[in-house]
């Protein structure tokens, strides 16, 4: 507390000190709000659907013939929070390289979207998923099973990137 400011004129006056008028004033505000239209949502029954510009958890794009990611590790290098771990392997497919292991530690991720920006393959993009619930640290590390999302579900974001990137 700033002692110097505790001068005569800064102290509570008589009406403030007897308290009741102030309570009445506060309750007045409450009742006024009760009559106004409601802004809240019945989450989780009623969910908010973000637009394409929303940066939810990063996911990997899954196409018909497999993931787009070529395991170049650029996302992992650029990630300021060191959330991404990629281990590359060799395939006989045309693109030679694929991620044997791709893990994002969601406790580290800060949803900056740098990984999406750096990816040369448009293979990692920010999804609309904002519901991240874990009960322990291990569960927060998402592997390929949780990261790969069919391209059909990611159209909004891809469209957004096409227009504004």
């Amino acid at each position: 507390m700033n002692v110097e400011k505790n001068t005569e004129k800064n102290r509570l006056n008589f009406w403030e000190r007897i308290y009741l008028p102030e309570i009445a004033r506060g309750l007045g505000l409450t009742f006024k709000q009760m009559l106004k239209p409601k802004m809240t949502r019945q989450y989780p029954e009623e969910k908010w659907e973000p637009t394409g510009s929303y940066r939810g958890r990063p996911v990997l794009v899954l196409e018909e013939d497999g993931e787009r990611c070529v395991a170049c590790s650029l996302c992992s290098r650029v990630c300021p929070a060191l959330a991404i771990e990629v281990q590359a392997g060799e395939t006989t497919k045309e693109k030679e390289r694929y991620p044997v292991k791709f893990e994002i530690n969601m406790l580290r991720c800060i949803y900056c979207g740098f990984c999406e920006e750096v990816c040369p393959e448009e293979a990692i993009i920010m999804s609309k998923d904002y519901e991240l619930i874990f009960t322990n640290q291990e569960d927060a590390i998402l592997g390929k099973d949780k990261l790969l999302i069919p391209i059909a579900q990611l159209q909004d974001r891809l469209e957004f990137l096409r227009q504004y990137r």
Binding site: S73, E85, E90, E96
Partner: protein
């Protein structure tokens, strides 16, 4: 002595040198792809184009001067390639002017016409000459909007080298290496123009014992290691200077580590030892035993099994055992695979504490391994060091009669460090008969199973120390892999990953092994025998060694690093420091 001027800097050089050589020796790098100091000049990439000229002379023989009094330069009508133009007295060279820059840009644009630029899947990315020059000497825009030429991307040239024809910039370094250094001339260009590619002659493959060096000298990612392919990006690894333990040449190497695991070995330039190369055998094998199948901690025999014990208790036990024998009943086996520091303390222990002269070491010779380039028949890294320190005795029990002495019970206790007896069944058999066998080892072998007290030692990649090679050059090695013991050594290189990992990151869980360098274990045992030694690190042991052993006089870790090794007994007149040529400038971060 011709005097030349490069970008305004006057340089004294010797006749017959090319411009690029003269510049290199004076610390000026002229961009180049195909030139390599160890190979013949082919002059085909045109990246090294520079503007050359001479001061112009008036008819009366005096130099023409401009208004400011500077020499007027008569520039050549065309640019010259620095790698094939010999220097001449008075030559003026411009490596940065508009004309040169224009030429460099043009060369880069040509090279990139058909280049796939698939850096994301290219192992070279991060240390690629083409990438580097793209940043430095390219406009970054291509005027070529036709379809790129496609070629084969996965052609094995031999068992260890994979060729990607699209990325090749036809510099011919690999061809010249195969002809001139590996002396296995099986590579050649085929076809012309933008269809040109590299092939092995029909029925041959590039399987020279040095084939993998082409991976390092290839300026781009056209040649990759089949063993390493896609294992890691270069910027994810830390590279530590080390010495190859594979044979007595002592090639200078770099150890690439990620998540506390060695992923690859690369040669490091040392003009006095291995120049720019190392052998494939070492590159493929000298890291696996560090990563896999290791011993951990100290162990004491109880009945038929070895049970884990603390370092202190095991050292005490070893000391007690050694103490219970007469000096004449003890045999000490040093090692040509251990560092000078280990052998030095071991020899001290035997002479000063145990008072035995029975000390020797094992030779591991393999004549099939030797060749004319680098590989030698002595498969140990430090035999000369061990001898210099006095591990080899000319009196008392030695390797010649050890087996016999054990069999007639005059030797009852053997203390052996960093050895294996796989190639010596007679000795293995004899050692199984001794009453007390104390062993230092990094990996389990037939010898460690027999031990009564066993200590897990650090490998060459985990110790700080020195090796002495076949030409008695003492070379310094730095730990590359962290153990429980060395984690706090100052200067231990760590990749970004290893540095910033936390407990809940899966990528930083690489094991820190419970092992100690040999000298530390020897000191533990000696102190239980009342030695009272206080060596705190390898450097302090080396300091003592450099005072005690004549050949090492005047040496220090600092000097060894500065001069890339010093030959025994020559500290006061060591060789001149060489200018080290690095083909690829590595840009990790």
């Amino acid at each position: 002595m011709p005097q030349i001027t490069i970008d305004g800097q006057r340089i004294e050089t010797s006749a017959g040198k090319t411009i690029i050589e003269a510049a290199q020796e004076n610390g000026i790098t002229i961009p180049h792809f195909c030139w390599h100091p160890a190979l013949s000049v082919s002059g085909n990439c045109r990246m090294c184009l520079v503007n050359t000229g001479f001061p112009r002379k008036a008819p009366d023989g005096t130099f023409e001067r401009d208004a400011d009094g500077n020499n007027v330069i008569g520039w050549g009508p065309k640019l010259s390639i620095a790698c094939a133009t010999p220097v001449a007295d008075g030559m003026v060279i411009d490596t940065q002017g508009d004309k040169t820059e224009h030429a460099q840009n043009a060369v880069m644009e040509f090279l990139l016409i058909n280049h796939p630029l698939d850096c994301p899947i290219c192992d070279e990315a991060g240390q690629c000459k083409l990438q580097e020059y793209e940043f430095l000497h390219s406009k970054g825009k291509s005027r070529f909007d036709e379809k790129k030429n496609h070629k084969d991307k996965r052609v094995p040239l031999g068992p260890n080298v994979m060729f990607d024809a699209e990325r090749c910039i036809s510099c011919s370094r690999c061809i010249r290496f195969a002809d001139e250094v590996a002396t296995q001339p099986v590579l050649t260009f085929v076809d012309r123009g933008d269809h040109v590619t590299i092939e092995t002659f029909p029925g041959t493959q590039f399987d020279s014992p040095y084939s993998m060096n082409v991976i390092d000298i290839c300026p781009v990612g056209a040649l990759t290691s089949i063993d390493f392919r896609f294992t890691s990006r270069v910027w994810e690894m830390s590279f530590t200077d080390s010495i190859c333990p594979g044979c007595s040449r002592g090639c200078n190497i770099k150890v690439g580590v990620r998540n506390n695991e060695i992923l690859r070995l690369e040669p490091r330039t040392n003009m006095h030892v291995n120049t720019y190369w190392m052998c494939d055998d070492a590159r493929l094998n000298q890291y696996k035993f560090v990563n896999e199948n290791r011993l951990s901690g100290a162990m004491i025999r109880s009945g038929n099994t070895l049970v884990p014990a603390t370092w202190e208790i095991a050292a005490e036990k070893a000391a007690k055992l050694l103490h219970s024998y007469k000096p004449s009943e003890i045999m000490i086996l040093g090692s040509a695979r251990a560092t000078n520091e280990d052998n030095f303390l071991l020899s001290r222990l035997s002479h000063k504490i145990l008072k035995t002269t029975h000390i020797d070491f094992l030779h591991h010779t393999d004549n099939d391994f030797a060749d004319k380039l680098l590989r030698t028949s002595d498969r140990t890294a430090n035999a000369h060091g061990a001898m210099e320190i006095g591990i080899k005795q000319h009196h008392g029990v030695s390797m010649d009669n050890l087996v016999e002495k054990i069999k007639n019970h005059s030797i009852k206790a053997v203390y052996v460090i960093d050895e294996h007896v796989a190639d010596n069944p007679e000795l293995a058999n004899a050692l199984s008969l001794v009453e007390c066998l104390i062993v230092h080892a990094s990996n389990p072998t037939s010898l460690t199973i027999m031990a009564h007290v066993l200590f897990a030692t650090s490998t060459y990649a985990e110790t700080e120390g020195t090796f002495t090679n076949m030409n008695k050059r003492v070379q310094y090695l730095m730990p590359a892999v962290a153990t429980l013991d060395n984690e706090r050594i100052a200067g231990l290189e760590m990749s970004r990953w290893d540095k910033f990992g936390a407990r809940n990151d899966r990528w930083s869980q690489g094991v820190r092994r419970d092992c100690k360098p040999g000298w530390e274990i020897i000191q533990l045992i000696a102190n239980h025998l009342g030695a009272g030694w206080h060596f705190s690190d390898a450097e302090s042991v080396f300091k003592e060694l450099s005072i005690d052993v004549k050949g090492f006089h005047g040496m220090s870790y600092e000097l060894l690093q500065e001069y890339q090794g010093i030959t025994l007994g020559t500290t006061d007149h060591s060789d001149v420091k060489a200018v080290v040529y690095e083909s690829h400038i590595f840009k990790p971060n």
